[in-house]
């Protein structure tokens, strides 16, 4: 390969979850890929919790997988406990989640990257982006290396001007024990990008043999685990290692409460805004004062690990306060730390400066993905990395760009949200952010997206075969059900489809009555069954989507001076001028732009 041919090179400045998906997508689409990382051994490292998926995040992993991305495949390989969350609440909000062996996960990912022909790993720090005529032309490393390129993707996580806080101590860092990145953020600011500061936190890691497990409750995974990837071989028989649950108590809360002034969040040292959703434990005890206890999950970071992650106890208190407070919990009365919890404050760039392809609206070939866009979470980062990677490659290939709508995917919801809404805390995916949730289920991610991944060129032949076999089998299941009529003990035979529509009836119950049904894969049965149960409701959603689609894709000219449009409200004019949405649909989702503003715009555009 000719690594320095500018025309077909994409540089990715980071090897976290966004950087991995971006690198693999670019490389697999046949473009020379240079992955610049501060530390090649840190590629794929999980900075925070040892788990992938969860509510709404599991949807993202399934969608990444459906498009030909990597995260789901790797999570299935390195998972040590699989659990479907939210099972009591309706299939559209079920959240597949798996505990990871962090060491295996990162090791496997590095192997995958090394085996990819088009990727070259360069160890170093990217400090500057060269731009000619509003187009990216090269990335400059700290040692002076000049890498000419057509596009650059910046998935820099929490590294940009990162600063760690533990109590009133603070020091520059990108992650615990790793240096921050300073040059890159200055380069972006120099290019005119507007930025802000955000904060996120991580809990302490404690020593396994300092825990009295006899006083903790054991929690293990599902008996019938569901893998993330359709490419993972069936039957799926992963490990099922237990983790443990303990509960905080009022003594534990009192210690934290009395030390609030020592928390950088509360003493005002941290300027960045923290997430409301996975708040620090000091946030929790203040915000939910009436709750006497919170659950903490003691999760091993890898198989046989002595290092235990205290899920639910994210904090930036001084180490002694963290320890003292945890020691109030009987199972942790002798707890010893490997390292304390900490908060990290970092730069993010206002994502409304990006198109829905994650490319800058101003500079061709400059893509931002992951926490740099104000999001939080591995899955959110990976999803953006994938989209940025695809589009950087398409740019090199001189093909049309690719973006997903919020009507077909959570990835679409995520990106549409961040490019149209103001981010005032780290953005985490939630199912409530998707208006058409019933259509966007984890189980049908491939049905929604795999054909699109195939069209892009990211879905391999083997992957596509699996998909087509699944489609065929689903059709066979439907045909079988349509012919069958059964009697579930009422004395009257009813069409199987009708029986299936009743709540709580599943295909596994029908299997004994309908011959041949149990020869199909559980995944295929589940999707057909859910489609049948949701038909009418999904139709209603589709009608709403049709209504919205009447304005969704009307594109807005790039040169409109919104300030001159006097029939729009003042707030709408200012917001539109600043954000410059690409379509009327995007404009309609900007806070402060009312339906009548949209109507006005729509009429003016004619």
């Amino acid at each position: 390969m000719n690594p320095l041919s500018k025309k077909q090179t994409v540089v990715i400045c980071g090897g976290g979850h966004a950087g991995i998906e971006a690198s693999l997508a670019v490389a697999r689409l046949g473009i020379n890929t240079i992955l610049v990382t501060l530390d090649a051994n840190a590629i794929g490292r999980m900075s925070c919790n040892p788990a992938i998926g969860g509510l709404a995040k599991g949807h993202l992993v399934k969608e990444i997988d459906a498009l030909g991305g990597q995260m789901g495949v790797e999570a299935d390989k390195a998972g040590i406990q699989f659990k479907m969350l939210n099972k009591s609440k309706g299939r559209a909000v079920w959240g597949p989640r798996a505990q990871m062996d962090k060491v295996n996960y990162a090791r496997n990912i590095r192997k995958t990257i090394l085996l990819e022909n088009n990727i070259r790993i360069v160890q170093g720090e990217a400090v500057d982006i060269k731009v000619d005529n509003q187009c990216v032309s090269a990335v400059i490393l700290k040692d002076g290396t000049h890498i000419p390129c057509r596009a650059v993707i910046i998935p820099s996580g929490t590294f940009l001007d990162g600063k760690i806080h533990i109590g009133n101590k603070n020091f520059p860092a990108g992650r615990f024990g790793e240096k921050p990145s300073i040059g890159l953020t200055q380069s972006l600011k120099g290019l005119g990008f507007k930025f802000g500061r955000l904060k996120t936190g991580t809990p302490p890691r404690i020593l396994s043999n300092s825990i009295d497990y006899s006083l903790a409750e054991l929690s293990d995974g599902d008996k019938l685990p569901t893998p993330f990837s359709t490419r993972t071989p069936r039957p799926f028989k992963p490990k099922n290692l237990g983790c443990h649950i303990v509960n905080t108590n009022s003594d534990c809360h009192d210690i934290l409460y009395n030390s609030l002034s020592l928390s950088p969040m509360y003493s005002g040292i941290i300027k960045g805004v923290g997430p409301r959703y996975c708040p620090s434990v000091e946030d929790k005890i203040v915000r939910f004062k009436d709750r006497k206890s919170h659950q903490l999950f003691l999760e091993p970071e890898w198989e046989g690990s002595k290092q235990i992650y205290v899920n639910g106890f994210s904090t930036s208190m001084p180490e002694e306060v963290q320890k003292e407070s945890l020691r109030m919990i009987p199972a942790l009365r002798n707890v010893e730390f490997i390292r304390p919890g900490y908060a990290i404050e970092y730069d993010y760039f206002i994502p409304s400066q990006l198109k829905s392809t994650l490319e800058s609206k101003e500079i061709t070939g400059l893509f931002l993905a992951g926490q740099i866009n104000g999001t939080s979470g591995y899955e959110e980062a990976a999803a953006q990395g994938l989209i940025a990677g695809i589009n950087a490659a398409l740019l090199c290939l001189q093909k049309n760009s690719f973006s997903l709508t919020r009507f077909e995917s959570y990835i679409g919801v995520l990106i549409d949200d961040i490019v149209t809404k103001d981010i005032d805390e780290p953005y985490r995916m939630f199912t409530s952010r998707a208006e058409f949730r019933l259509s966007l289920r984890p189980d049908n991610a491939d049905i929604r997206l795999t054909q699109q991944g195939r069209n892009i060129g990211l879905v391999t032949d083997a992957h596509f075969d699996i998909f087509q076999t699944r489609l065929k089998n689903m059709q066979k299941i439907e045909a079988t059900l349509e012919k069958a009529s059964i009697d579930l003990g009422t004395g009257i035979k009813k069409p199987a489809i009708k029986v299936l529509k009743q709540p709580l009836v599943t295909t596994s119950e029908l299997a004994t009555h309908v011959p041949g049904l149990n020869t199909f894969l559980p995944d295929d049965l589940f999707t057909v069954e859910t489609d049948i149960k949701y038909t009418g409701y999904v139709d209603r959603e589709q009608k709403r989507i049709e209504q919205i689609n009447k304005i969704e894709n009307i594109s807005l000219p790039v040169d409109i001076d919104y300030l001159l449009l006097q029939t729009l409200s003042m707030e709408a004019r200012e917001k539109l001028q600043r954000i410059r949405p690409e379509t009327l649909g995007q404009a309609s989702r900007i806070a402060g732009v009312s339906p009548s503003d949209i109507l006005n715009l729509n009429i003016m555009l004619k």
Binding site: G90, R91, R437, T567, S596
Partner: protein
């Protein structure tokens, strides 16, 4: 009206023809330069009625002495600068003023364009716009009152309140869907059920107003039915004779019917004489005629007239009609006094004018009973569009309640609640659909 541009528009806001005064409205982004061109004043105090001499900008020739009021935007009806000229009536003066304006580059307004601009500039919502359209066509006092209520935002307030309640339930459900069981504490279904029921009952209250709203806009149809020569036409004239407030005498769409409108306690009532259908032929045979059936179907009440035994005759006809929609009249009881032993049977004599007053009182009560009369100042559903949306919303909330009872999962419930909220949003016009909006404003007259 197809395009919306914010050029300056003008139109006569009062009807064409002879009158004491005529009002011309002008609206546009900046009307200040118009003032010295058109009047003997260089500027006008905002919102003060000022006496001016109107002149032709080109020739300087005086046109009229008029009262002119300048409403600077955004505090005007349209949200733009607005001028109202009250000039002397008569076609000549108003036409001269308009042609001078057009010479200055002002465009003749399309029907409804002033209100359309008001809507587009956020001065009124869709329900208010509809109320304005209806006000100009109001037939009775109740009609005016109800539309005034809606104009001042009464219906919009009720809908918005309902929507707020709905969003409250939705936010609870959404919150619970977003978190795991161990992260937050959950509300039980009973509480959600309770709140849904309260939404249902408010929605029912609003839906109830539909009948009344429809009645005072569309009126009530009373159809006289009976064999030939039983005195239907005499009764028709006698009833109208009692109710002096005849609104109009409309010949039927065919030569066979005669319709006449009168105001019965605020409700517009249309009395229909079907005599023409069968005076020439066999009554029973003619009843089968589609036209007759149509008329019966369209009616709100049937006045079934017979000079022998209306109740008995009616029962032989096998008409599938609910009995509370039929009022029986034994006609031609001239000279005798008879007391009816049935609530809905009346003895009348058009010749002696007996029994008529009692009949009318009964009709009036029956109408008012049938329409859930309510305080119309509180906001009523007045248009077909509003009614259709509320009826579908009512269906939806009942559906949601039964789904919750059936233990349907919350993701589905949330989706249905979102649909409901969208429906309500559409009632008050939080919609981006150009077609619906255009459709509403095309019903306006010029100058509104």
């Amino acid at each position: 009206m197809v395009n919306y541009v914010n050029d300056t528009i003008a139109a006569l806001a009062t009807p064409y023809g002879v009158g004491a005064i005529a009002v011309i409205r002008i609206s546009g982004e900046d009307l200040k330069p118009l003032i010295p061109q058109l009047t003997d004043k260089s500027k006008l105090t905002p919102r003060y009625a000022t006496l001016v001499t109107l002149k032709s900008p080109a020739s300087g020739i005086k046109i009229d002495q008029s009262i002119i009021t300048f409403f600077p935007g955004p505090d005007s009806y349209t949200g733009e600068d607005l001028i109202e000229i009250s000039c002397h009536g008569g076609e000549y003066i108003s036409r001269s003023i308009l042609s001078e304006l057009i010479a200055l580059g002002v465009r003749s307004a399309n029907p409804g364009e002033f209100s359309y601009r008001a809507f587009m500039n956020g001065k009124i919502d869709l329900v208010q716009a509809e109320a304005i359209s209806s006000l100009t066509q109001a037939r009775t006092g109740s009609d005016v009152g109800a539309n005034l209520g809606n104009l001042t935002g009464k219906l919009s307030d009720r809908i918005n309140q309902l929507r707020a309640g709905l969003l409250n339930i939705l936010s609870i459900i959404e919150h619970e869907l977003d978190f795991q069981e161990d992260e937050i504490s959950f509300t039980d279904r009973d509480m959600i059920m309770e709140r849904l029921s309260s939404v249902e009952s408010s929605l029912s209250d609003i839906a109830c107003t539909a009948a009344f709203g429809k009645t005072i806009t569309n009126g009530v149809r009373l159809v006289l039915l009976g064999r030939p020569n039983t005195g239907k036409s005499s009764l028709f004239n006698t009833i109208l004779g009692h109710e002096r407030a005849i609104v109009s005498n409309v010949p039927g769409t065919t030569r066979d019917t005669l319709e006449s409108w009168f105001d019965l306690g605020g409700i517009p009532v249309c009395l229909v004489d079907t005599a023409g259908y069968w005076e020439s032929g066999d009554f029973l045979e003619n009843l089968g005629i589609t036209k007759t059936i149509m008329e019966v179907k369209k009616s709100d009440f049937i006045l079934f007239v017979d000079d022998v035994d209306p109740v008995n005759l009616f029962s032989k006809l096998n008409l599938t009609l609910s009995h509370d929609r039929v009022i029986f009249i034994k006609s031609k009881v001239d000279g005798q006094t008879m007391i009816s032993d049935e609530e809905s049977l009346f003895y009348t004599s058009s010749k002696n004018d007996t029994g008529i007053r009692k009949l009318i009182t009964y009709i009036s009560t029956a109408i008012h009973d049938s329409i859930h009369e309510i305080n119309y100042g509180d906001g009523l559903l007045m248009t077909q569009r509003q009614r259709a949306l509320i009826i579908s919303s009512k269906g939806l909330i009942n559906n949601i309640i039964s789904e919750v009872k059936n233990q349907t999962e919350m993701d589905i419930i949330a989706s249905l609640l979102h649909s409901l909220s969208n429906n309500l949003d559409e009632v008050v016009g939080n919609i981006t659909n150009k077609e619906i909006v255009k459709n509403i404003f095309t019903k306006f007259c010029v100058g509104k």
